[in-house]
Structures are given as C-alpha cells and as structure tokens.
Symmetry: C2
Subunit: 435 residues, 2 copies
C-alpha cells in the first residue's frame, strides 16, 4: 500500500567505513546488541513519548543498496564492502517500546540485535526517525494535555522540512491531536484531515472598489457549505464576524481567529456570535500557540486550537536526544568510559511498576538475561515488545490508532504532577538493576 522509499543512504559515511574495516578483521560477524536510549529529557520535561517505531519498521524494508547507490559509494569503499552492501538485508531482531509509550532517561527504547556490521549501519536511520518523531510527539502530548479535551488541529507543515512535516503530522496524531492540515499525512497514514481558510482567499476578493470580505465568505460557503470555518481576522474582526453570520446564517460551522490577543478576542467573538443567534458556531484559534498558550486559554470560549510552529519544532526541544549505543558483543557487556558520556553495558529490559489505582511508580531497567526484579504490592508491565524477527516485521505490530490509545492511557497513569507543564524532574524515577 505504502510505496517504499529507498532509505539506504540516510546514513553517515563512517558507518560504512567501519563496516569496511570490520569485514577485514572479522569483527563484522560478531553478534552484537545496540540499544537506543535518551540520557536525559529536555530541560524540565517530565516524560517523553516514543514515536517513529512504525515508520522505522517500514523504512527498514527500503534499506537496500541498489546499483545507483553503490555507484555513489565506490569512491571511498573497496569492492568487498560494496559486494557486502549490495547483498545487505537486515536479518536480526528488534525489540522496543511501542509507539505511544512513555519513556524516561535511560529507558531502553529500542534494542537491535544482529551482527556488528548489519546493526551498525542502521544507526543513523534509527536515530533520525526516533529522534524526530519522538521530539514532536513529546511536545504534542503536552499540548494535548493543556487543551484538556478540546481538539487541536496540526497545521505546522510550512514551518518544517516538507517530509518532516508528514512525519510530524503523524506523531501529533499519535499524541492525541485531532487532525492535520497535511494532505500527505492523510493519504499515507490515514490521519484525519482538516482545514479552515486562508487570508489570501479573502484578500483575493479585492477589486477596484477595495476589499470584499463578503464576496470571499459567500464563495467559500457556496463551495464548502455553511459547516465551513470562516477566517474573520483579515480586516476588522467584529465586522468579519457579522458578515460571516449574515452570509452563512446562524448555522455557520466555525470562525477562526489567527492574530491578536486570542483570549480577549475569543470572548468578544463568542458574545457577538451568541447575540447574533449563532450559538453553535465554533471558535478556532491559532497563532504561535504552544502548550503554555493553549493552557492560558483554558477558561476562554475556545472550541479548537490550531498549532503549527511550536509543534513541528518540538516546542523548544526539536530533537529527542536519543543515542544508539553498542552494549553487548558476543555476550559481553561493553560501555564507553570517557567523561560525561558514560553508558551502561549489557542488553537490558524494562518494566514499569504501578499501584492498584493504575498510577505508575517507577521504571526499572534490568539485565535482559536476568529475571525481572520483584515488586511487591505493585504490578510490573514489561515495556519492550517484539518489532522485527529475522529481519522481518512481526505480524501484529501495533497500529497508529493503537499507539494513540496506548498513550492516552499512559498519560492517565502518570502521577498528577507528571502532567503539569511546569519544569521539574521526570514524573517517575528510573532504577537500574544491573550487574
């Protein structure tokens, strides 16, 4: 259904030169485990949201070095390496946190097992996808919480790379946003589509006698019906609202305000709409909203939010800071020891404990070779699920909708301070039970 793009060269050059060296001395064939984790959350964030796993599994199928790509590599790789790359198919296993799972510092978000060579070449692709999508989903989840049940339309495509925009819309939907303006996200991932109207459309109805907002509204209603959302802030908002209701009637679907003091304007517009009898006409607000701006409008008569820039840029944290580290070679735990960037060797698993009420207590990261630590009086849910076996996606990968539902549940399980927007420590501590 989805066409597979070739993803082989979304890769850093050093991964292939390392393969070249590893093929010569036999290291290439050593069984290895790589682990993806974030050393910390962005400043003050209480939790992160895993996203991109579904895209990663798709992208793996496109990780093929075809003739064109091999030709681009022969300048710096020797023939044996090129032959190996030409035959490349990932044949190992991947386990990981499902999409929509919360993560905390040190959570083993993804575990890739295979030979050194087959696993090392996936580093950049894995991190690009998870770092981008998780950054967007993590910001989006905070916005969704701040909106407290009111729908949010994702409309940030124009503020990020054109392909990143599609992935952003997907991640935002995973995190609970209602819909997206991005057409490719609707086509490719089935994210519900939405849209309002453009200032340029109103402005385009300008003639020798000046602007004609009424003609613009009439044309939009004629084409899209009275259920449409009219953009009322191109000129004077009060006049815009009056004209909108005159043209569409009291059954007008919605009005959008995209500038000014959104709280004040929402109250004024609500009162005006109610006075005009348009009591069910919805008010959509937008304009550089982030989670704090959304929260600040909680008491105002706003029916839906549009978010853009702050969503696609991760609201101050545009990348999730995940790293891809070799943790085990031939069954031996390995770790870098240089200052400030230490990591913990050995393949790991994780459980999250919870009280009877469902509220989570801590995350426990332990050696995958050991039994899970006992957690008296608390439930302990394993966090990794199988994603890829023998190089192929497992049959029952969670869907985007399932990830979305999973996150909605997971957010409810946070201790109450964990959902706050204020800066602080991770919502629950992570305990490492390692040899």
């Amino acid at each position: 259904m989805v066409s597979i793009d070739n993803t082989a060269l979304f890769t850093d050059r050093y991964e292939l030169t390392m393969v070249s060296a590893a093929l010569r001395d036999g290291t290439a064939q050593r069984p290895c485990t790589f682990e993806v984790f974030a050393r910390r959350l962005p400043d003050g964030r209480r939790y992160g949201v895993v996203a991109g796993t579904g895209r990663l599994v798709e992208a793996l199928a496109g990780f093929r070095f075809d003739a064109d790509r091999l030709a681009a590599l022969k300048e710096f790789l020797e023939p044996d390496t090129l032959t190996w790359l030409g035959d490349y198919r990932f044949s190992g296993s991947i386990d990981g946190y499902r999409e929509g799972e919360l993560f905390f510092p040190g959570s083993p978000v993804l575990t890739v097992r295979g030979t050194f060579a087959e696993a090392v070449v996936l580093e950049t692709l894995v991190l690009s996808i998870l770092n981008h999508d998780s950054a967007v989903a993590s910001a989006a989840a905070r916005m969704v919480s701040a909106a407290a049940g009111r729908p949010i339309i994702e409309m940030g495509s124009r503020r990020t790379h054109e392909s990143a925009a599609v992935a952003s819309a997907r991640a935002a939907y995973l995190a609970g946003m209602a819909s997206t303006s991005n057409l490719e996200a609707t086509r490719r991932y089935g994210v519900p589509g939405a849209g309002t109207s453009a200032h340029s459309f109103t402005l385009a109805h300008t003639g020798p006698d000046g602007p004609d907002e009424r003609a613009a509204f009439a044309a939009q209603v004629d084409a899209l019906g009275v259920g449409t959302t009219l953009l009322v802030d191109t000129y004077d908002i009060t006049r815009g609202v009056a004209t909108a209701v005159e043209v569409a009637g009291t059954g007008l679907g919605g009005v959008r305000i995209d500038s000014g003091d959104l709280g004040v304007l929402a109250r004024q517009v609500r009162a005006q709409l109610d006075d005009l009898g348009a009591t069910s006409t919805r008010i959509v607000v937008s304009g550089d909203l982030d989670e704090y701006g959304i929260a600040a409008l909680r008491a105002e008569p706003v029916d839906a939010y549009g978010v853009g820039t702050q969503l696609v840029t991760g609201s101050g944290a545009p990348t999730a800071g995940m790293v891809y580290k070799l943790v085990e070679v031939d069954g031996i735990g390995v770790a870098k020891r240089a200052s400030h960037k230490e990591s913990r060797g050995g393949r790991k698993a994780a459980v999250r404990t919870a009280r009877d009420t469902g509220t989570i207590v801590e995350e426990i990261v332990y050696s995958a070779d050991a039994e899970p630590p006992s957690t008296p009086g608390l439930s302990a849910r394993p966090l990794q699920i199988p994603l890829v076996r023998d190089g192929e996606p497992v049959a029952d990968l969670p869907t985007l909708e399932e990830g979305r539902a999973h996150l909605a549940d997971a957010l409810v399980s946070l201790p109450w301070e964990g959902l706050g927007l204020s800066s602080g420590d991770p919502a629950v501590p992570t305990r490492f039970v390692l040899p």
Copy 2:
C-alpha cells in the same frame, strides 16, 4: 539526473478547498502576486541566509496530482476541482533572492506570480523548503564565521528527520561548512563527504580479556590507511592517543575527541601528539558544539570541528519564520490589516546599497513598478533574480557552489558588528520606499 519526487501533497488542505471555492466564483483566474518574507529575524540574529531556492525549483517539477493523489482528495473536493488539479502545471513566474544571499526583516525573498489558484497551492511547499533550509543555513553561517577558517564537518543527520538531514547537509555546505557525513547529500548534491570513526567500532573489539582499542585502531588503519582519523576517547584519552600513534605511526591523519572539556583536551592531546612526533596529526573535536562553543575554542589547537545537533536544529531557531502572503491582485496591492500581523501590499523589489569599500549600508525595499530609489555615493545591487519563467526553471540558475561563493562574499560585506555572535539588531536596516 536527480529523480523527481512527487511533491503535490506537501500541501495544506485549505489551499485546495480555497481553489475549489475560487474556481466557482472566478477568483481562481485572477492574476496574483505572492511574496515570501520574514517579519523578523530570530532573537538577536544579525542576518539570515537564504537557502532552499534550488531545491524549490526542483520540487516544482514534481508538483503533479497523479491518479493516486487525486484519489486521496476526492473525499473532500468536487470533480471540477479534481480535474483542475489533474491538469495542474505551474505556468507563472518566480523571482527571488539567490541561495547564499543574506536577508533581513521584510526582504522580499521570493515573489511568485501567476493566477490565484496556481500560486496559492504552492504556499506550503515553498515555505517548508525555504523555512527549513534557511534556518539551517543561517545557523551554519554563524558557525562558519566562528570557526574562522577552520573546516567544519556537518554530522547532524541523526538528530533530525531523515530527509531533513539531507537538506540540512546541503544548506550547511552552502553556508561554508567543508563536508558532511550524510551519504545521500553527497550522492544527490555533490556535497563533499567526510567521516571519522565510531565508538561502537572500538567497543566491538572487546573479547573475554576485555577491551582491545589497539585491535580496533589497527583494523581501521589497515582498511582506511594512516590518513584516517581515529576516535581516541572511548576509554582513556591519553592512552588512546598513545595507542593511536603506536599503531598508525607519526603519519596518522587525525584524532577525534567527542566528549569532555574540548579545549583542555585539545591542548593536552596536541602536546602529547607533538611529543610523540605526530606533529601533523590533526585534532577534530565534536560534542554538542554550537557557534559559541566553536568560538570558545578559537585559541585552542583544534584543526576541525564536527557539528551535529545544533546545526540541524538551527541553533535555537529551527525555522526561519518566513510567510507567503498575497500582495497584489489584478494589479491592486492588498494586505491583511489585523493586529500584529500587518503586511505591506504591492509587488516589491529590493536593492542593497554598499560603500566603495564593499561594506553594505542598507536594504531598500521598493515598489516593483517604480524605479529603484537613488542612492548617491553608494552602489545599489538588485537582489532578486529570475528563477522560473512560464513555469520552467530559467537556464542559468546559480549552482550550489555559486551560492556558497556568493555567501562567502556577502558575509565579508557585512559591517563588522554584523558578524559578531552577540545578540543585536539586524546588521543593516531595511528601508521601505512604498507608495
């Protein structure tokens, strides 16, 4: 040479519903001018760098609504609109600032002329490309200035969306970085490739007797020659450097330090290398460097920098804040009048004035229908060039290399305070000479 991806659905839904409404009332056919500009620069930035224009012209050729895409749109568009989209070819003109040109608040970075319908549908694609690429190039140019002639390797792919990574590498090269680790950027755009080594490669050389850094270095040198760059900070840096020179000899190409206090370590490692006789071995440093971190190392014996996260995230400004506004309809200037987001109507042109010394003085934005304002004693260079005519790219579009050379010259033309990293006003003022 470059395969054309389909770009038609990198578009916000409302653009197509507006086309639908505009087709019904005839607005679709009105001749229009849309203008791209940034209302302001990111906080404290002195200049912006235009990037993405070359990618945009390529992407235009892929803006085609094929049967698959039309099928995805029929749920919300009527048959006449689908027919119009199926026939869509941009047939208008585009002028703009060349890649590598500086821009300031209000600079008319791009001017799109065509019918309302054919131009309005390009809004998202245009902005996605220019906002992303310009954000990265603007940050990159500051890093290049801070590096004061030392080469910078772009290695940020893993911190951004996999396709954004390719565009980031291109924008970084435009801005003067020396090379990239991103293989697709080398293949697609000819950006010089570079790479060093991976911690995982050293760690993979661990056996029952523990780590064997020497074996890792030997394998790398065997495969890649003594000119390679060895990563010396996996374990103890001093021992790593000693082992590196023992294995490769004093002709070792370089060592890389990726953690710790880079200034202190660079001095220690330089002294050690010199003591060992490896006086020409280069020192490459990396690790969350931004323009300030690069500048802080100016007095240290660093030969090259690797930058990643801060580059691809625009060093605090991940999007350039450009907007796409309708400014003229049927020859009549139009502008939104709502609060805080006012814009200036009418099609515009711009010149940048300079003294005999080459130092620029101001940017003048004026009506494209008028003569350029006179600038006694100063040269005045027109800033827009033709990019697309009758829907087709012009024959002599500047290449990426030409854009890179142009920016290098443009940076030299800034008043000296404009190249400073400290926050401040735009390096030169913009003067609007409009009716």
